[in-house]
């Protein structure tokens, strides 16, 4: 597919054009709504949205502060959730008794809709960064935890026996066999967990905060400013794509020992 990018871009432009034509007041006679301003009120207008983004980034340059807050929350939630998940996953996978005792509780915690904890975290940690990080951590933790648990359980018994024959102590087994095997599973879930850390941050902001992109959206929604809400969504989406690309790069660098599908065997 040589022209793949061209087609992708064309589709995007077509969607924006459709959005514009359907919402611009006076361009088409209203067929869904009572008057020709209502479509713009409910759906926003692409040009206004672009203008809003331009103002945020260039004219007023006031969104960077909010983006930075959201990013810090995402990174903190991801880091804390991963470390906790890794530690608990390793511990439970290597301690059969503890894992047997805790199994129903872990199941319950995992199946609980954890977003609902946001109000409690707001009470516990206030409206600052803390409550958003806490929410993100609960989302990230389980993804990482289950992957590490799986990773440790799936360590090849032969590789394990081999390491023991080579004289690895319990500690060295943990450091040189279980941990690398588990991290490979963590990395395979990295895209999901970074995405969820981001969701935690934005949802937390949306439910109550004084800064962050989620806060901007909440403010605009309060004054029925659909264009700004849309602009916020566009910025968040672009931001999430950037994060995902960054994760992809890190993954590629750290996981070069893993065979990739389609890669020919080098001799």
């Amino acid at each position: 597919m040589r022209h793949l990018r061209v087609y992708q871009l064309a589709l995007l432009l077509a969607l924006i054009a459709f959005w514009h034509v359907m919402t611009a007041p006076g361009l088409l006679p209203p067929f869904m709504f009572d008057n020709d301003r209502q479509a713009a009120f409910f759906f926003g207008q692409p040009l206004q949205v672009a203008g809003r983004i331009w103002t945020w980034f260039v004219v007023d340059a006031d969104i960077y502060r909010h983006l930075a807050v959201t990013l810090v929350e995402t990174v903190l939630a991801f880091a804390a959730g991963s470390v906790l998940g890794l530690a608990c996953g390793l511990w439970l996978a290597l301690a059969p008794l503890a894992s047997a005792v805790l199994e129903p509780y872990i199941k319950a915690l995992n199946s609980m809709p954890r977003i609902i904890l946001a109000p409690i975290f707001a009470v516990w940690f206030g409206l600052g960064i803390g409550s958003k990080v806490a929410l993100g951590v609960t989302l990230v933790f389980f993804i990482v935890f289950f992957n590490v648990y799986q990773g440790v359980k799936e360590v090849s018994p032969v590789v394990l026996a081999n390491a023991r024959m080579l004289g690895a102590s319990r500690r060295q087994l943990l450091r040189h066999v279980y941990l690398p095997s588990a991290t490979s599973w963590v990395f395979s879930s990295l895209h999901t967990s970074v995405g969820l850390a981001f969701v935690g941050a934005v949802v937390g902001e949306y439910l109550g905060s004084s800064q962050g992109v989620g806060y901007l959206i909440l403010q605009a929604e309060g004054s029925f400013d659909i264009n700004t809400v849309m602009a916020g969504i566009v910025v968040l989406t672009a931001f999430a794509l950037l994060l995902d690309a960054a994760v992809g790069r890190i993954e590629k660098r750290l996981m070069k020992w893993q065979p990739r599908a389609g890669e020919s065997e080098k001799l």
């Binding site: 090849s156 590789v159 081999n162 390491a163 024959m165 004289g167 102590s169 060295q172 020992w257 893993q258």
Partner: protein, 271 residues
């Protein structure tokens, strides 16, 4: 005169019974009443039909598996825990996929805190012909190269006993013969005790000082022992066409054949 040296590895009345975890009433005795002594510097092969507990025997020698009864002695001492005087070359892939070839060969030296682990590992990689491939990960190496790396990894620790579990069964015939000759060369310079498990009688005769035939499972035990008096150094490909080789092959096969048929019949019944 010095006291007679104890055998490098000795099985004394060793049995191993597996109990099904889900159904404790269901048990399977893999090997029963095995007596076997391996002198230092001796190359002994064990042949037997599939599923006769050859690997069980090796795992007990390595200390990865505790015998249900009987004792394993290493240089006269009863074995408890991992046998740290033995190196084990596994049948399946055993390299750590997250370490490079060099990292894998270094692993054992590193675990034991050798100060010049890297230099030793590099020397071993060169010795097995992988000098230029130290920075490759296992998935970037061919099957034969991975086996070489495993061999270097095992031998780098300079173990007094080398346990090999069908190490070359996954290789093609040419690569296999090259590797067999390499192992024989390395063994000839170091003269370690080798316990070599194989299902390939040709390989067993070509490489060993002694060949042991195991009966079909369950409760397999040695039923024949043959000294291989072929001259050394040997070339595994050439030695196969000598009259003495053919004679030995015929004699051992006469014992082995019945067991192979028995083992086959049992597998048919079980499935």
């Amino acid at each position: 005169m010095a006291l007679q040296q104890p055998p490098a590895l000795a099985f004394a009345g060793v049995s191993c019974t597996f109990v099904s975890r889900d159904n404790p009433g269901q048990r399977y005795t893999a090997v029963a009443q095995v007596d076997l002594a391996l002198q230092p510097g001796e190359f002994v092969s064990v042949v037997g039909p599939t599923g006769c507990g050859k690997s069980t025997l090796l795992n007990m020698a390595a200390g990865l598996l505790q015998p249900s009864s009987g004792e394993v002695h290493v240089f006269g001492r009863p074995l408890a825990g991992i046998n740290d005087r033995a190196g084990y070359m596994f049948q399946a892939e055993s390299l750590m996929p997250w370490r490079t070839a060099l990292g894998n060969v270094m692993a054992g030296l590193e675990f034991r805190g050798a100060p010049d682990a890297r230099a030793q590992a590099e020397a071993w990689l060169r010795r097995v012909g992988l000098g230029a491939f130290g920075d490759r990960y296992p998935h970037q190496l061919s099957g034969g190269m991975r086996k070489r790396a495993s061999l270097a990894q095992t031998l780098a620790l300079d173990p007094d006993i080398i346990l090999m579990d069908e190490p070359f069964s996954a290789l093609d015939v040419q690569t296999r013969q090259l590797m067999e000759n390499e192992v024989l060369d390395l063994w000839a310079t170091k003269k370690k005790a080798v316990l070599f498990i194989t299902h390939d009688l040709d390989e067993a005769i070509a490489m060993s000082d002694r060949v042991l035939v195991l009966s079909a499972g369950p409760a397999s035990h040695p039923i024949g022992e043959f000294a291989i008096d072929l001259e050394r150094p040997r070339d595994v490909a050439e030695v196969r066409s000598t009259p003495r080789f053919i004679e030995l092959h015929r004699a051992i096969w006469a014992v082995l054949r019945d067991e192979v048929l028995k083992g086959y019949a049992q597998q048919l019944k079980a499935s």
